[in-house]
Amino acid sequence: MENNTTAYSLMMAGGLLGCGLLAYAGARERPGASSGKAAALAVLEILLGVLCAAVCAMAAILLIRFQTAAAMGIGNFIAGLTLEDLPFFGAVGGFTLGVYLAGKCMKLPGADTLNRFAAAGAFLIAMARFAEGFLGLFGTGELPEETVLPFPLAVAIDFSGDGSYVEYYLAVFMFEGIAALAAMVFALRKKAAPDTFIRTLFYICLAQVFFESLRTTSIAWLFVKVEQLACFLYAEAVLVWYGERGKGLKNRFLPAAAGLAVCALIVAEEFALDKTDLPHWLIYICMGLELVLLGVLEHRAHQRLTAAKQ
């Protein structure tokens, strides 16, 4: 069971190309934007995005594993890192920073640049997730013993090299990719409306809280998964920000309060997954419903904010 790094690299290259084209299309829609300027912005967004994503992902894992990095020596620690060690939220955060900086370099407003990039970013996330299918167990989730499901629900991983011993794993990377594509459709429909970027990322993060729980490979402190925590912190920050912006509105912090309640429930559910014999399917149904509820609350809160503004 070796990683197919060639296929992974090709898929990521294709993802970057598609992302660049979507970024170009988004930039071209800006009033008065020439095709040359839009192309320059798209290229700069990709270049700075990739650079910042790599730097921020490494910085994130250094922070998460600081104790180990300090003991090993930071140089040795970084030299020993593999693609699978880098946190996804670090890469997404870094790419966002790169896109923002690209807009600033072109003397464009940062928020508008990000909003126009939202669909392209969601597409790149989807491709990155689909590409995880070439990294062995990395993007997969545990299936009960003897459960056999077809692709794209599950993947068969051959550990023997000759097909004599195969294990089936849930194709979590496919679900994550499809969720990101759904977020891309949302962003395309919103075009460059205000808050498109933060809302697209909000929905991707919400889905990731669920999918991260399914993954066999996840950076964790005991039963706390770091990606889940980061995604949740982002989602909660958005809901608190909505509350701050909704001065004069009734129950404006209700979604943020609900977010905290959902966080507590998810912590309890993760604990139950690790420590109890409760059926996992039941726990995941509860977790899914809570996250859908949070998504609905965000949508309604945003609608109220927009209505109040008008």
């Binding site: 069971m1 594993r65 104790q67 180990t68 003991a71 090993m72 020993g80 593999t82 699978e84 060690d85 062995g136 167990l137 990395f138 545990e142 009960p144 013993e145 550990f159 023997s160 004599s164 011993y165 294990e167 066999t216 490979t217 996840s218 950076i219 964790a220 402190w221 005991l222 690790d274 420590k275 109890t276 014999d277 409760l278 059926p279 996992h280």
Partner: protein, 342 residues
């Protein structure tokens, strides 16, 4: 068949006639028909006979070979697990497993006695089959099946990265994976001859050459602990109950599930774990001594819900009800057969 604490049932194993694996007898020979001297002579006779048998059968076994020091597995299973199968034996390995509901220790414990023909049959494997420090976690049973493990147990949760487990020393299948140490934890080194060497935390673990032990190459090293028995000397209660000598969250004084690996003779090992209501570390030491009074080195691996013992691809301790899933862990220790057909 369940073996009782008194050891009257199923005592067909030649190990019992050596007098060193009887849970109910810590010092003397289990057979009351012989005097102490006769018993001692019998022990030597059977030990010699067993060694000769093992050597002859090993040499005669077609295809038996030393396993490579890498992440490959052992020879494919030749028999299927069944609940009444207590002994697996082929020319290269013998595994005998027991479940003992004990009134004396107020717990049910599971143990396996393993004899291998070659040290290379004591092996380790990470969850993703590639990297011992990866963030991948799967239940022991999956890794055990991949590796064709005759008997597998959870390891020291190498990639835990929490509390004082963040910097533990990791050397697996002959390769140094992480060259840092946690100064508060005992270190278990297993050399190329399959012999255990426990380096106590009091030594300068950082300066120590951890890749060799007594001039022999170290193949696997673990840092969890503490040592229950070192060079034949059992650890005292005070030392075992000191939280600073255990990994964070191990709770040495609490009733926790625990996994212990021990060496009871040349190429002879013991793995012991207790059931879900658990045992303290001193109790685990006493259980090991009850099973194998002449045990030289015994060392604690990860416990709690990680405690999993798998025999021929089936978990044999704390079997979960339907719907319950086993804890996913980062690594296993296993014993494999080297009896390949071709």
């Amino acid at each position: 068949m369940e073996k009782t604490e008194k050891g009257k049932e199923g005592r067909t194993s030649y190990f019992y006639y050596l007098g060193c694996f009887d849970p109910g007898n810590r010092a003397g020979c289990p057979n009351q028909f012989f005097t102490g001297r006769e018993c001692s002579a019998m022990k030597k006779y059977f030990a010699l006979l067993f060694t000769l048998l093992l050597l002859v059968s090993s040499a005669a076994a077609e295809g038996a070979r030393k396993l490579p020091i890498d992440l490959s597995g052992g020879a494919p299973y030749k028999v299927k697990y069944s609940s009444d199968l207590e002994v697996y034996e082929d020319p290269t390995i013998r595994v005998e497993r027991h479940r003992v509901p004990s009134k004396e220790f107020v717990c049910t414990y599971y143990y396996a006695l393993i004899t291998v023909a070659d040290a290379s049959q004591l092996r380790t494997l990470p969850a993703d089959n590639k990297n011992f420090l990866s963030n991948t976690r799967v239940p022991v049973i999956k890794m055990a099946k991949r590796a064709n493990a005759i008997l597998a147990i959870n390891g020291d949760f190498t990639a835990a990265f929490s509390g004082n487990k963040s910097n533990t020393y990791v050397l697996r299948q002959g390769e140094v994976i992480r060259d840092t140490v946690e100064p508060g934890l005992d270190l278990l080194l297993i050399d190329e001859d399959g012999d255990f060497h426990i380096v106590p935390r009091e030594e300068d673990l950082e300066a120590l050459d951890k890749t060799t032990a007594d001039g022999k190459k170290v193949i696997n090293a673990f840092q969890f602990g503490p040592a229950l028995i070192r060079d034949g000397v059992p650890a005292d209660d005070e030392s075992l109950l000191d939280q600073s000598h255990s990994p964070t969250y191990a709770g040495p004084h609490q009733l926790n599930q625990r996994m212990v690996i021990a060496q009871v003779g040349p190429l002879q090992y013991l793995t012991v774990c207790c059931a879900h209501y658990g045992a303290t570390l001193p109790t685990m030491r006493d259980i090991v001594l009850a099973i194998a009074p002449e045990c030289r080195n015994a060392y604690v691996m990860d416990g709690g819900d990680s405690t999993q013992m798998v025999f021929l691809g089936v978990k044999i301790n704390n079997v979960k009800e339907e719907g319950g899933a086993d804890r996913k862990v980062t690594d296993i220790i296993y014993f494999a057969s080297a009896d390949f057909e071709d």
